[in-house]
Symmetry: C2
Subunit: 227 residues, 2 copies
């Protein structure tokens, strides 16, 4: 069957997010070729139809190559597909977002920038970035998503702080703890009690195994409007 | 810049949904060429890079050509992209879902089938269909989405019935009305009071202009668990 229409370019781009100090940051990678050679963009690349099994594995390959990451939390965001987004012609970007604890980030190929400080990017990457940040913030209100930004073990106060940093907004402690309990995604680390200085000793928690690459979703928000 | 990798096929497929009698139904179209020639699949086709502005307008073109629809509620669902879904090779399907009142459906090119009765479809279309139905049902719980299945004017009881039919589940009338009021998407049709037989006369409503192609989202569900 002959192809009667010119076919679009197919790429995968990834919004890789971490929390560095108190800021939600995105990874940018330097482009190695035209267009926009030498500029910083979202990590991405062509689909390699001869080696990638599917779009998700293309995203995984990109994260591994550009940021040394093995298996961060990775989810499809949206597809941006039109005539204008790439100077080379009609193009499709299947986009993903990934969350990773700062401790796991390796490699010097990416640069981290606070998402709210990024004002322009080549292609339509600013739009893709903002779509991802808005998705992550709205999911944070109703799910266990930010758990994937945490180190292996953490206290509930640390977890709440990460939620608050992603949202740039305080949460009510009692509602937050009640909802996290309902979500049933974390478990006590046996014997791991943290006692530091003036504070009461705090229990350390970890993500339950079955939520490794998964989310729990609440039917009410996690405390934002209650606080 | 030479392309070093073979490029995928790029198609757009649409899950077009309506409510017929009391059932959520999807439109199927007969394929005019191989693969699967003569079989019923989701309406879809190649992106025409030379005429489509973007993927959304490709979806609009497909709906217009195959179902005579001008501007139904249309939203991107997800992109299915892998080596296995199409016998012609690595392929991308950018998928959309559309909602339309049964009254607006034209043309004999599509066949309507109750979504819960469809057991197999060519390609990965059954998976796409199920993803769409699950998205529509979960959005129905928290938003004004099913309003786009309604005729121009309707009573609140008719609206509740449509929500219940999409969800296959009853809703609590008081919670439902309170949430619909909070969503602020419908307005009274002046003078349109329906009086039929034994029932109390019921006010007719219509969608507010600014929600024509849009959604209002609630922060709590619309009554399912309250009932």
């Amino acid at each position: 069957m002959p192809q009667r229409h010119p076919q679009p370019i197919v790429t995968v781009d990834v919004v890789l997010l971490t929390l560095y100090k108190t800021e939600l940051c995105a990874a940018l990678a330097r482009r190695e070729r035209e267009p926009f050679e030498g500029q910083w963009t979202l990590p991405g690349g062509w689909v390699h139809a001869d080696e990638d099994e599917d779009a998700l594995s293309a995203a995984g390959r990109i994260l591994k190559t550009k940021a040394g990451l093995e298996s961060p939390y990775l989810e499809q965001l949206q597809t941006f597909a039109n005539r204008h987004r790439d100077p080379r012609g009609w193009s499709v970007s299947i986009t993903y977002y990934a969350l990773v604890p700062y401790e796991q980030v390796k490699g010097e190929q990416v640069q981290w920038r606070a998402v709210d400080s990024i004002r322009s990017l080549p292609f339509d990457h600013l739009n893709i970035l903002r779509t991802a940040v808005s998705r992550v913030r709205s999911k944070t209100l109703y799910s266990s998503l930010p758990v994937h930004l945490m180190p292996k073990t953490f206290t509930l106060s640390e977890l709440q702080r990460v939620y608050e940093q992603v949202l740039s907004s305080p949460l009510d402690k009692r509602s937050f703890r009640r909802r996290i309990e309902e979500l049933d995604v974390v478990e006590v680390v046996p014997g791991a009690i943290e006692s530091s200085g003036a504070h009461r000793p705090a229990q350390r928690y970890r993500l339950k195994k079955r939520f490794d690459g998964a989310l729990a979703v609440a039917d009410r928000n996690l405390g934002l409007k209650v606080g």
